[in-house]
């Protein structure tokens, strides 16, 4: 309570950069909670529309365009439909877990949203207001820990449904998510080595300080993280838990109405969360490019809004990327998924940790401070590594069409194919 009296006494001389008092903090937290989660829930609802519109665009169709102008109210109509549909509860299901599973799939994605920093701190008349709901000292570990719980929803849905396809989907998801969680965590260790701390704020600050985004200085870690993030969210090309051609729809075969829909919302919520994480960890987060005014502690409100818009744009780009990939790549086979995770991504991430740590030791010993030069050296090394990566670990070696790597001649023939229509029709004419 002493904080409150302090704030009353010091009202005339409050430092806009200083910590905020209790009651304004509570009020701002309430406002932030409402704004962030309203945007989140609306965004997730409209992601379903975005997915259908973008897929239509990619496939040269119209997409939903009946409800509202250009199909704008389609998510609303879908929501109403899902609420009004009959809730089925098949016999022989484990009732408690059948009902619990959709919630357990959804809640982790929502929870992570709390720790993502959305903008520069605002130097308000009441003190510094951080544009994050909870600035945890373990921010980043919290996100991995909570994300790892998302698997329970899917596993339990599969098990509780008492259906062999659902169970297979659930088992696939648990194996898949546990496998890719490891390479995901390992891919983030170079980011932590750079930041020297685990709070998401420090990761954003470090990228601003180096004037280079982590995607440039730690490219391989970014690639491993990106692939793992697709696997963690069960999106194509890794949507094995619900592979329609094999498992009907996998873990949510027995679900109907809003419970079914909740799995979809969970998938989109996970995508949104992962996109925001990628933007924060590898693309500078809310940091405004080519500007240092936003990195000097708390800033004015327009600047805060600008930084939030930048963070939002980055997140939206990765959401688009998720959808883009879904309508571009076919699904992996299960053994390919496992061999990619364990035999390629994990060793790659581990080797990369050694390379980054060694290089950091060398550069620190050489007395180069963690600025632009440091980043540029890393950029050069990563360019070389990426070149090696693409030359030596290309398609025939990473994911082969069969268990064994491709035969050399077959590989040569496949590489010779250009995707132009004339060439392909000539091939089929043989």
């Amino acid at each position: 309570m002493s904080m409150v009296t302090n704030s009353l006494l010091l009202q005339a001389v409050i430092d806009p950069q200083g910590p905020i008092a209790f009651w304004p903090w509570l009020a701002f937290t309430g406002v932030k909670l409402l704004v962030f989660f309203t945007i989140y829930m609306l965004g997730v609802a409209y992601l379903t529309l975005a997915e259908r519109k973008i897929s239509a665009w990619i496939q040269h169709r119209h997409g939903p365009n009946r409800v509202g102008p250009n199909g704008f109210f389609q998510p609303l109509a879908d929501g109403v439909k899902n609420f009004l549909k009959e809730e089925t509860l098949p016999p022989y299901v484990n009732k408690a877990m059948f009902i619990l599973a959709p919630m357990m799939a959804f809640i982790p994605a929502l929870t992570i949203w709390c720790v993502i920093p959305w903008g520069a701190s605002w130097a308000s008349p009441w003190g510094r207001v951080d544009m994050v709901l909870a600035d945890l000292p373990i921010g980043f570990l919290f996100t991995i820990a909570v994300a790892s719980l998302g698997v329970y929803g899917i596993v339990l849905a599969g098990w509780a449904s008492n259906n062999k396809y659902a169970l297979l989907g659930g088992l696939r998801s648990s194996a898949q998510m546990v496998s890719y969680e490891i390479s995901m965590g390992m891919a983030l260790i170079p980011v932590l080595l750079f930041a020297g701390n685990v709070t998401l704020r420090s990761i954003v600050d470090q990228q601003a300080q180096m004037h280079l985004w982590n995607v440039l200085t730690l490219s391989i870690a970014f690639l491993v993280y990106l692939i793992s993030a697709f696997a963690e969210t069960n999106r194509l090309p890794f949507d094995l838990p619900e592979a329609e051609s094999e498992l009907i729809t996998g873990y949510h075969t027995e679900y109907s109405a809003m419970k079914f829909s909740l799995f979809f919302i969970a998938e989109y919520a996970n995508m949104a969360t992962q996109s925001a994480m990628i933007a924060t960890l590898f693309f500078g987060g809310w940091d405004i490019p080519f500007m240092t005014a936003d990195n000097t502690g708390a800033v004015s409100f327009p600047l805060v809004l600008l930084s939030m818009a930048i963070m939002m744009a980055k997140t939206l780009f990765f959401l688009f990327f998720y959808i883009w990939i879904r309508w571009t790549l076919p699904r992996f086979r299960y053994d390919q998924l496992m061999s990619l995770g364990w035999k390629v991504l994990l060793p790659l991430a581990l080797a990369y940790i050694v390379i980054v740590a060694t290089l950091m030791l060398v550069l620190d010993a050489a007395g180069i401070d963690r600025g632009l030069v440091y980043g540029l050296i890393f950029l050069g090394v990563n360019a070389v590594l990426l070149g090696l990566f693409f030359v030596f670990l290309d398609r025939g070696k990473i994911v082969s069409p069969a268990n064994a790597p491709l035969h050399a001649e077959e590989l040569k023939r496949l590489r010779g194919i250009t995707a132009s229509r004339a060439r392909l029709s000539a091939l089929s004419g043989d």
Binding site: P137, I138, L141, I144, A145, L171, V178, V198
Partner: protein, 177 residues
């Protein structure tokens, strides 16, 4: 005020942990039991965070609740374990009574330990945890002693784990005929 909140949360998570642990040992269905264990670990993680051990709390959720228990569930779902009464380790009335006594003995030991005074070297001055959190951040608080004072023990532990993994792989591998 903050002391009040602390107390409320301590008892809340403590009660959840104990209730879930009881549910864990009494459930007949292995999957339900495993889920109650997850709940216990979750509340323990909350208690760790309340003791300023943020890192341990996160790792508790990440490793135990997020990875190990998922693998447990995976195995439980794959194995068709049959009737719960047949897979129980403890059978018969006398077995249960004996198990109850062992449990009470362990409880008594814990109570006795809780009442005793810890050696001075183990007691941190008030506010030390918050101080080291500010200075070394959440991970450094663990990493500094682990990699400076207890490096040998840490490396030996990792070798032990490696040996266990190699052993599991060899045991799990089918003999070449």
């Amino acid at each position: 005020m903050s002391d009040f909140f602390y107390r409320v949360h301590f008892y809340l998570f403590g009660l959840i942990a104990i209730a879930s642990a009881l549910a864990f040992v009494t459930r007949k269905s292995p999957v339900a039991a495993a889920l109650w264990l997850v709940n216990t670990m979750f509340s323990l993680a909350a208690l760790y965070v309340m003791l300023d051990a943020h890192f341990i709390g996160a790792i508790q959720v990440l490793v135990y609740a997020g990875a190990i228990m998922v693998v447990f569930l995976f195995v439980l779902m794959l194995l068709n374990l049959g009737h719960p009464n047949e897979i129980s380790d403890i059978r018969g009335t006398w077995g249960r009574v004996a198990a109850g006594f062992v449990g009470l003995a362990i409880l008594a030991q814990v109570m006795a330990l809780a009442g005793s005074v810890a050696p001075k070297a183990l007691v941190q001055p008030a506010g030390a945890a918050a101080e080291s959190l500010r200075e070394l951040n959440a991970v450094g608080t663990i990493a500094k002693p682990l990699f400076e004072e207890h490096l040998l023990a840490f490396e030996l532990t990792s070798i032990l784990l490696l040996v266990a993994i190699v052993g599991a792989v060899i045991l799990g591998k089918r003999r070449a005929s």
